[in-house]
Symmetry: C2
Subunit: 351 residues, 2 copies
Amino acid sequence: MTTTTLAYAALSADVPLAPFRFERRDPRAHDVVIEVLHCGVCHSDLHNARNDWGNANYPMVPGHEIIGRVVAVGADVTRFQAGDSVGVGCMVDSCQHCKACAQGHEQYCAQQSTYTYNARDRQDGSPTYGGYSTNIVVSDKFVLRVPAGLDLAGAAPLLCAGITTWSPLRHWKVGQGSKVAVIGLGGLGHMGLKLASALGADVTLFTRSAGKEDDARRLGADQVVLSSDAAQMAAVAGQFDLIIDTVPYMHDLNPYLPTLALGGTLVLVGYLGELDPMLNTVPLIMGRKSVAGSLIGGIAETQELLDFCGEHGITSDIEAINIDEINGAFERMLKGDVKYRFAIDMASLKG
Amino acid sequence: MTTTTLAYAALSADVPLAPFRFERRDPRAHDVVIEVLHCGVCHSDLHNARNDWGNANYPMVPGHEIIGRVVAVGADVTRFQAGDSVGVGCMVDSCQHCKACAQGHEQYCAQQSTYTYNARDRQDGSPTYGGYSTNIVVSDKFVLRVPAGLDLAGAAPLLCAGITTWSPLRHWKVGQGSKVAVIGLGGLGHMGLKLASALGADVTLFTRSAGKEDDARRLGADQVVLSSDAAQMAAVAGQFDLIIDTVPYMHDLNPYLPTLALGGTLVLVGYLGELDPMLNTVPLIMGRKSVAGSLIGGIAETQELLDFCGEHGITSDIEAINIDEINGAFERMLKGDVKYRFAIDMASLKG
């Protein structure tokens, strides 16, 4: 007994998203059937829908920042029951036996984790369809519990933008006394400020554009540095234990390396591609500094984030939209015109 | 009462090293006066003498892999006495009060450590002259103790080539169960193999040239991978916790990144400059990998290395030369024609 699902899908790279109807699978013994309530709109939704990365499969139903309510569970599911508030992020499965999976780093699964959309189910090979839809069926190991009291629409972006900044903050052991900088104030950047601040770090925002001071401070920054201002950059030389670089396009890392403290790390979470201009190794060697990368986060880590956000009352700043506004929202995202994440109210899809 | 010192010096960038005579300072209360017995020949001696880095001061007496015997000590020196076997490495002083110095990382001194040659003494501004000389006068904090039983000529390269590979091995916590690779089999590379192996790691050599198998295994490698062979490179995908890259010239890091394990680090110790071809961030992000740099090592760390080498009977493989062979040795180094370090027998300077 499959479930007929309403969705918005891209049917090819060059047409707008449009209404689409398909069947979700009958729940397996370990599956959770979730009514989608809210779905955050990630930059990668746009890139995937338009085949910017060359690996698109159509029809494609985007969406991997999913918050919903459990409506049914498979026979062997014990951790969830109907009515629970839950989340689903970028992954819905992984091999479960490689070293990365065994360590709870499913995002680095040696056999590649199964993405929430634009992938294939590991068991039956059917396409995975994401959260721009009325419901989703997900193996219980990849379903997250949403703490009571969190605004559900604002919680949706925690599943990607949140965990993508949380994972490096935790891996590099940020806490009281840490000095952290975030490059870029978008969906990821604004979560980086909130989370680093809540962890007790001293937090700086690097931005190219003036006028973000008030917002940055409200979001948790102790300091804002204009990266285009050489004097401001020189004033923070040798400061940061960790820099989280959220910029999603090609940019010059070299000006930031001198602002790392001895032993500090600049971690890229937004940009996949070649480092142009070329990275200069001198500041790395002269201060045992590192340039690293980090990809979303594991499932246990994501639950830890949600619990932390529940304790600290942290959600994303969102602008709620109806599903029929999604194509306009994509255009606004390309212009950076959103504070700081669109979240689709999925009730608009059923109406 | 200064000490007249015989040395070999570069008088300009374009002439061979030649005999030179100067006065060492009268020992201060904390100084140790050392008769130089052996001095290793580092690639940076050649680069500095020829002003390849644009910051040469002449006359220049190179040499920062110094082994000698204490002949006198200042009034306040308690840790050393005449007759002790001692070493001096790349640094003879530092500010002693910045955070790096306080942590024992004098090589990263915020006010720049004082290099053993081509620098200026912090107290009187006089030029520092290195170990291609009959004696040297050094503040006791920068004098290392050489354990009994170590071959003194073979111990000289520990002071730079040795500590440069030891510091990252220790910082990244290499030990039993670690998988380490070394890129390049020169002065640094051969020490990397010996030290990583003695620490209990499983050790691989990456090399561009066939025919190094026997030597590499003798030096501690468990495996040799031809970096020009795509099949051999693919066979070690995802293997290494730490790669120590000793290559001193521009080279492509991209083929090595996929051979790092999840969370692994490639640390550059030999190449100062721009990464051309451009570094691609995809393998960094897809496996939380890092590209880092590391510079020699601190004084306490260098003593730890010497003690470790004493316990394990580790020295550098050297070819002893007389001081009047130094210019020919420079030419052979440029061709990679040395196994694996020249060490000057300083008796040849007095004869």
